[in-house]
Symmetry: C2
Subunit: 347 residues, 2 copies
DNA sequence: TTTAGCACTCAGCACAGTAGAGTGCTAACA
DNA sequence: TGTTAGCACTCTACTGTGCTGAGTGCTAAA
């Protein structure tokens, strides 16, 4: 692959990304003055096609990049793009608003992402590491109902309402809470299950019902934890892209977007542990409709630990340079914001 | 409006709902044997058109119902439809799965709704009534971080992480929690603010920082409460409807669906406090694209109090009879399930 | 009042012809 | 040997035309 071929390929990719139209030799010669005539470029294009970097939708059309062509572009030809002052500003202002609600932060992140890229954004919040039990509290809501609250050491709080016999009074619950806390401090489920259960039941036998339900909540908190949750944004936004003039393509896209599990998988691969990952067309998956699209994703962290992934889903004809820079900048900022929101500290 | 006109209108509405094609006089004469010839029916149709119940897309097409026609159909002509055994079964089984997570219940409700109707479902969870403070608990997570947990008497639990000086130990937090609980029992914000504050600060002055942040959380819990949250389901589903063969219509639909506030408004009107409400076309709103669609909605309750709304959004050519029966049955069942999940009790 | 008959309208479709973009090949040129 | 101009060829997209079929409204007869 000599220098001129590279230039031609670059021109084709750039032009196709910009216009969504197959690129002809004349266009390249005129717009990207390589100093040679269209005929020469045609020769180069024939070579590039043979090598698998570009393809022709039909005989008398220009060329479009193949997946391989995009890959080469992303790996070797694309120049890194810095965000403009303005874009950085948009992100900073978007994330800086005073929020205490994590869900809102994620939704806003998604909105920013799709607003800046005009593709669909995905924000995945992943299971934290399996966390340990920290604290349990029983609160009487009314004579027959008690709220069980479990705090995990990663900061998650789970609660559940249970029915309790009238005979139990607030003081009992207070005592129960204290005893449970003392006994269960820092335990993981195994220890709780096998070592302490009998001891507890012996001491607190008359509260068996409450104990059962409390331990059940603790167990659920330990094992089921939070489900992965995915936020989508800017679906409508993306439909302004010319590839979606056709109703069928819109439908398949929406079909993809409704398969939450698929999207979660897309974003939860181990391999995208550091930095921005780019998957193009059938690199994503070979036998799903998604192979006509591309995904750019990057993880975000909380105190250095990866707790989720941000991604952009768009047509393979995606402005990779821009998307990559936005995703990169956004995940870094998101990590900072999350530290502030979730770990307490200044507003 | 004599009996025969009614029959003709009914035939037009039913046929159009079933086929999505303008209905001609011959079709009516053949399929809905009214015992008269197409010519007679044409005369009736001319009358109905003049009265505003039906309209003609273009000269040589059949007739389609107007908004007014649908309204007449829904109010006077439509016969109530009971759910089939099978449909009831689907709903029951769908909702009966053991769940503890409310969000999941709502999502499942939406899925069922759109699955049974093949339109888009919306589930709105509304602000509970302004609730009272019930319990506060401070839990030390590590030497410099404390989790503040507030329980409201409607069962909502709010939590927030705050920074605390190292000098504070777990026992202090325990004491603080106890004192706060004793002082604040059942108070609303006004009383907390003006009567007790000084007293508290006098007694617990050295914990001013924690107090500030705790009261702030209580305040937020009281006033901001939960935001309205809306779940959408079956968007892709609805696109199988023939009206969405055209890309533009899909786009405007998605545009509508991304305006969460609009959808929330749709479902939160006071007027739909009891039973199933049907709004057709521009009855919904006159100057939005939504005027080409219809909404069927009904509230659901928790211990008798309305806490949200379930709705179906689809083309005006909607199978009203079916949708109404599904929405009705589903909201009733949902209320039962919520009682079980949220208020504790058996699984 | 109902109905048969008929002329009329119009969307939708198939078809052919055309314009334009772009190609590949060949032969001439530096 | 690489580059270029020229040219024939291909194929899509668009346009206009004519036809078909569905459906109407009107009129006159039953």
């Amino acid at each position: 692959m000599d220098e001129r071929k590279r230039k031609v390929l670059l021109a084709i990719v750039q032009d196709f990304i910009a216009t969504a139209e197959p690129v002809g030799s004349r266009t390249i010669a005129k717009k990207y003055k390589l100093g040679v005539s269209p005929a020469t470029i045609r020769n180069e294009m024939a070579d590039l096609e043979e090598m698998g970097y570009i393809e022709q939708p039909h005989t008398s059309a220009g060329r479009i990049p193949s997946v391989r062509g995009y890959r080469y572009y992303v790996d070797y030809l694309m120049k890194k793009r810095e965000l403009t002052q303005e874009e950085e500003e948009v992100i900073r202002r978007g994330l800086d608003k005073k929020v205490r609600d994590v869900a809102k932060v994620f939704r806003r992140t998604g909105d920013l992402l799709s607003q800046l890229t005009s593709y669909t954004s995905m924000v995945l919040t992943q299971q934290g590491r399996p966390s340990k039990f920290k604290h349990i509290q029983l609160v009487s809501m009314n004579p027959t109902r008690t709220m069980v609250i479990v705090v995990m050491d990663n900061g998650a709080v789970h609660h559940r309402m249970i029915e309790t016999p009238e005979s139990i009074i607030a003081a009992d619950l207070e005592t129960l809470s204290r005893v449970l806390n003392a006994k269960l401090q820092g335990m993981n489920m195994d220890t709780i299950k096998f070592t302490l259960l009998q001891e507890l039941y012996f001491e607190l036998g008359r509260y068996k019902h409450i104990l059962d339900l409390s331990l059940e909540l603790i167990q659920d908190s330990l094992f089921l934890a939070e489900e992965d949750r995915i936020y989508l944004g800017g679906v409508f936004n993306m439909l302004t892209q010319p590839e979606f003039h056709n109703a069928e393509r819109i439908k398949t896209m929406l079909g993809i977007l409704e398969q939450e599990e698929l999207l979660c998988e897309l974003l939860s691969g181990e391999n995208l542990d550091q930095g921005v990952t780019i998957r193009i067309g059938d690199e994503i998956e070979d036998d799903s409709e998604i192979k006509h699209y591309s995904v750019v994703a990057a993880p975000y962290t909380l105190s250095g630990r990866r707790i989720g992934t941000v991604g952009v889903l768009g047509p393979t004809r995606m402005d990779y340079a821009k998307v990559i820079s936005v995703v990169d900048f956004l995940t870094k900022n998101l990590s900072v914001v999350l530290d502030r929101v979730l770990r307490g500290g200044g507003r």
